[in-house]
């Protein structure tokens, strides 16, 4: 059984490798990291030794890739945190207070990955508004769309993140 499963996983990753790497690259920002993420996803699935049959192989693979991207992003974040705590009081000052930071540490990695999975105009509308402080009117002019479309994009980004947070549970 386990051998069959591993053979299947191997075929699956071979078949969709390029697509998975492209997806992972989108989630974490560069190609090298994308390769690493897909490799992590594969190793983790192999190590799981589960006996549950894989119903939808492709979406199974992509979900595993997304989860590996979250782990990867969270690792990056923790490395950054360590560096900040060590050598820059200033940066730590700018970040939220310790308790609030602890509470959503891992959630932050999830949110980053979910947002990167969005189609570019949707992600961009959200980033411009939430992270860069632009008004809907400014974003509409920049993207050449209506303000109601901007609003729809941002709401969609939020709903997308929320439903994936619920789906991934305490991943």
């Amino acid at each position: 059984m386990a051998i069959n499963r591993n053979a299947l996983l191997y075929q699956l990753f071979k078949l969709y490798h390029r697509e998975a790497v492209r997806f992972a690259t989108r989630l974490v920002g560069n190609r090298d990291s994308g390769e690493e993420v897909v490799q992590d996803a594969y190793l983790k699935l192999v190590a799981r030794r589960s006996t549950t049959p894989i119903d939808h192989p492709k979406s199974y693979l992509f979900t595993a890739t997304r989860h590996a991207a979250i782990d990867f992003t969270d690792r990056q974040r923790r490395e950054w945190q360590r560096r900040v705590d060590l050598d820059s009081l200033d940066e730590a000052h700018l970040a939220d207070d310790g308790a609030a930071r602890m509470e959503m540490q891992r959630e932050l990695a999830k949110l980053a990955v979910y947002l990167n999975a969005l189609p570019p105009p949707c992600r961009q509308a959200f980033v411009m508004n939430k992270l860069q402080g632009y008004t809907h009117l400014e974003i509409a002019a920049y993207l050449g769309i209506s303000t109601s479309m901007v609003e729809k994009h941002i709401v969609r980004a939020l709903l997308h993140c929320r439903s994936l947070l619920l789906a991934d549970g305490d991943l």
Partner: protein, 320 residues
């Protein structure tokens, strides 16, 4: 109103719609009041609003990496001084090429050589040895030539410490307004509620020049404003160190309007602050405030002004 019917099933979705609208830049005080009322209608709404606001707030801690166009959970290395310099070298030409685009006035922080987001501050070392501190939500383009060191303040506020070089003057542009210095230190903030720009000189002097040919030399320890019509006001002696307090996370208001104070706090705050009454915007404020704690700062103001500050939630504050 199709989407309203859809959202009624899920109050969290409805709350998210509210939050997005309140953060659109076009929300009215009535919108804020309506949300506050919706929130308190019943326990389900309150709970949903808490959840939606928590999600919205959590997302404020994400970072955007301009180079890869990706959202990150941690800032990329942080812009070290060396990093900033190499970024400058990469983008050196874009300041000139981007010139025409700026007239639209909308691209400001997006394509600038240097830009800061909400609640972030950056120190940039320019190749000539001058140093620029960039306040939150600000943007700067660098456009140096052999004869002149010109920079454009595209948005927000910056403090300039200029390396002396009489042969190559240093000039800051705020659109068509020019601020020229030889070797000095000064602060410029643009687009205040009641002025086009404000200059505060901490060392030597700076010459303001408008397109219509008006000119004013502003000396050490003086502040001058250019009003919305482009007229230069008188240079006034002030405590200029108060003007540059933002570099240490402090906002020193000396006779500033409440509207101006709230706009300064907003660049450092990941929530919405609404002033309900137009008259209140004109109130004069004297206070030292913590930019990193907008809500706390507003509470301080409440102690000394005829205003009521209501924190509907951590991310919505109503001043009435």
């Amino acid at each position: 109103m199709n989407d309203l019917a859809d959202t009624q099933a899920d109050p969290v979705e409805e709350a998210l719609h509210w939050i997005v609208r309140l953060n659109s830049g076009a929300a009215t005080p009535e919108d804020a009041a309506a949300y506050a009322a919706w929130r308190t209608e019943n326990a389900r709404h309150a709970e949903a609003a808490d959840e939606a606001e928590r999600l919205w707030a959590a997302m404020g801690n994400l970072h955007f990496d301009r180079r890869s166009g990706r959202v990150l959970a941690a800032p990329k290395q942080g812009l070290t001084r060396r990093g900033a310099l190499s970024l400058f070298l990469c983008l050196g030409a874009s300041g000139v090429a981007g010139g025409a685009l700026w007239s639209s006035g909308l691209l400001d922080r997006l394509s600038a050589d240097f830009a800061t987001d909400t609640a972030s501050l950056e120190v940039i070392d320019l190749p000539d040895g001058s140093r620029v501190s960039l306040n939150a939500r600000s943007a700067l383009d660098v456009d140096f030539s052999d004869s002149i060191r010109r920079v454009h303040l595209r948005a927000g506020q910056a403090y300039f410490e200029v390396a002396a070089n009489p042969a190559r003057p240093f000039e800051v542009m705020v659109d068509e307004l020019s601020f020229r210095a030889m070797g000095t230190a000064f602060d410029i903030v643009r687009d205040l509620p009641e002025a086009r720009a404000e200059l505060a000189v901490t060392e030597h002097s700076v010459r303001i020049r408008t397109v219509s040919g008006d000119m004013l030399d502003v000396g050490e320890g003086e502040v001058a404003r250019i009003d919305r019509q482009g007229r230069i006001g008188a240079a006034v002696k002030t405590d200029v160190s108060a003007v540059t307090g933002w570099r240490d996370g402090q906002y020193v208001a000396e006779g500033r309007s409440l509207e101006e104070v709230v706009s300064a706090l907003s660049a450092w705050h990941r929530g919405v602050i609404v002033i309900m009454d137009g008259q209140l915007k004109k109130l004069r404020v004297d206070a030292v405030l913590d930019l990193r704690d907008a809500n706390g700062s507003l509470d301080v103001l409440q102690g000394g002004l005829p205003i009521k500050v209501r924190h509907v939630s951590k991310y919505l504050t109503i001043i009435s």
